[in-house]
Amino acid sequence: MWLSGLDVELAWLRGALPYEEGLLFPSSKALSHVRKPDIEGAIPLGMQLPPSLPGNADDWELYRFARRAGWRVWVKGTFHDAVRVSGFAALRATLRDMTSIWGAEHVFVQREVEGDEESYAFAAWRGELLGAVRVEKRMVTTRGKTWAASVGPLSDEATAKVRLFVERTCWTGGGEVEFIYAPDGSKFLIDLNPRFPAYIFGAALCGFNLPARLIAEATGLPYADPAAQSEQFVRVVVELPTRASHHVPAIPKGAAMLAVGKHPSQQPKLRAKLTERGALPLRGASRTPMPLPLGWSAAAAEALRTARTPARIRLGEVHESAVAEVTAATARFEEPFFTPALSVKTNPDPELGAIALRRGWWAEVISSAEAAWASRAGFARDSIVFNGPRSSTDDTSAAGIVFADSVDALATLRDRCNGAQLLGVRLRPPRVVSRFGIPLAEHAAVRDLVAELEQHSRWAVHFHVASDVVGPDAWWTLLMDVLQWARRIADLVGRPPAVLDVGGGWHSDDFNDLFLPRLDVLNGAVRAQLPSVTRVLLEPGKAVSERAGATVASILECRRAADGADVVIDASIADLPMALSQPHRILHLPKDGAPQWLGAGTDRVLGSICMESDVLATRLGFKIAPRSGDRLLFFDSGAYDVSMAWPFAGGTVRD
């Protein structure tokens, strides 16, 4: 009898053992029904599949996918391994690590589904369901493995679905259906393991010995379920003495440790053997084309004309278009009026400021220097909004509205401004981890805020959470939350706010696709919760300036690496500081030949400074061989890539 507990091992056994008798695991055909991520078995089970992308999709698509999921995504191997990632750098690093273990075609990125984790563990013999249990996870490891659970019988409806799956696949062996039971009642299949789960003895403790049922059916031996000792189990680690004949070798050191230490089961090697003999169909990369940035051809032409690199290219028409779009979307509302405000910190380019000013935008500043910039640019005092931790210490006299980042700062501003400006507070919703704003989760802070606001004849409220960190859905939920908090605070103060300021690190795609179309909802929510608010300030921030700039660099050297090319350019993370946290669309401009967009691949673009972190892009592919002297044009670098760039290796000291 052969019973395997490892997905790769049983796939390998199917090819290695040329007979059927005694194999207590599914056939190769049955295994094809459970291959992740597009598990065909979801259909008879009546379950949905969480959205996913192949791990070899290009960074732009992966970033969009994960960002819109609020960074609640998992990087998974098709056979084994699951790592939750919470940012672009972690996504990139995890994909690199898991690809090196499992191969690029056997790694995918899956959106996390909200809900309770459950499983059906079952045993089947030649298409007949022998038994199944429902397992509600109570504790899981950081990798999502079940550590404690409640076990009970399956409902008749669920049994019928598992039976249908078993019949259709003519299943033999153990199996586990892992799914998320979403709050709306739908079920999302996250794994269908072709083996008994590792915790299966816990089910036996609860009265369901599924492996025994399988072996009894296969051998004809008598069998009776054990008495239930409990309805729950918890796993423990047991230390065992080793036999002299099974001596455990010393742990390899250094790189060798990294290579073998994580998988003593040798599953990655088995996976490689399976791939070699063609037993595993390979998944192709995503076919979704990367959207081309606006104004790219004009920018490419200018990049080729540029005498010295690295250099910035301003895409004024793109900025003009973005500003016009936001202006049009906001202009259709009557009270509360929606007024866009240019976040000067994203790119203090006077020409970009002039475009916003012409469209009637306000300016949002975070320092007295930026306030002076806005005044010089022509913004009137009443249309300058001062935000940030420096508002209580910097000179804010150039601004008409000043927001405090703490209750103490608000009190300082009250003393200093003497009613000459509208003062407001930034609120930090309870679920948000942030250093900014007044923490609504702390009762003392709310109590102090109410006491302070009672000293003000009018006040304003500010909400700002990074949408590209928490995700657009969560951002919206938090905004609605803050509106209700503001209403509760207003009730306590006895005086409602006059202005609402809304900001939040929107990626330009999300701002245009998801935020602007919902302005109606925001307008309605403000009217319902805070009818006293006459003006809503919108800070699109980098959503309008990011696309207004590109950065051109020259290739210095091309090196052949183990599985791709390493291309060294004359720009660095000092020129493109956002390269560490988000991808850029990159256009390859050969000295002789047509421009080519870089897609997914195994090449890297390295910067020019002597820092290990100076890696500007990875997992990309040149369509034609890069050569020294070619140029690369980095789009989407018009915001913080400009304002947060720093002089480095230029032989100068920042004053």
Binding site: G70, E114, D481, Q484
Partner: protein
């Protein structure tokens, strides 16, 4: 508390959950009475009565029909001895313990079809009479705002305002 519940009992995509955050915010344990609502912000520990009162209020604010539910549990001697010592050492009277039996409060949620769900914030779970193990509930009394003639909890008929005794084997031996 209502603001916190509005913030913390809603998922990123707007799904509303039971007030799980209460048990994260407060320990369960001995609590001196009387207790006022304004004591809550500075409290560290709540007993089942306080958990139930707060939870019931939060559910009502959400628009649900809810009230405190009274329960009697039976536990093994070693368990009630431990609780007895815990309350006594904190200077609180363990009057809710009598022999193997203890008095407990949670929150009953009344559904339009006459069924009742019971949410127990002391342990963050829905109470069920059908667990085979770990479920020593022997009696229940509910107080519906709008008296209904036919109430049912977990297939057990329940009469509003009256103690209903569950026919169950005792857990303590």
């Amino acid at each position: 508390m209502r603001g916190m519940d509005q913030s913390l009992s809603r998922s990123d995509v707007g799904h509303v959950t039971p007030p799980l955050w209460l048990r994260e915010r407060y320990e369960w344990g001995p609590r001196r009475w009387p207790m006022a609502w304004c004591d809550l912000p500075d409290s560290v520990t709540l007993d089942c009565g306080a958990f139930s009162a707060v939870t019931t209020d939060l559910y009502r604010v959400r628009g649900e029909s809810a009230s405190t539910v009274q329960l009697i549990f039976r536990y093994p001697q070693q368990t009630v001895d431990m609780w007895h010592a815990l309350w006594s050492s904190a200077g609180c009277t363990p009057h809710w313990i009598r022999g193997h039996h203890i008095y407990h409060e949670a929150t009953a949620l009344f559904r339009p079809d006459g069924t009742i769900d019971i949410w127990d914030s002391s342990v963050n779970k829905h109470l069920s009479s059908r667990d085979l193990t770990g479920n020593p509930i022997v009696a229940i009394r509910v107080f519906a705002d709008a008296p209904q003639s036919r109430l049912q909890w977990d297939r057990n008929p329940v009469t509003n305002g009256e103690w209903c005794w569950l026919d169950r084997p005792s857990a303590g031996k």
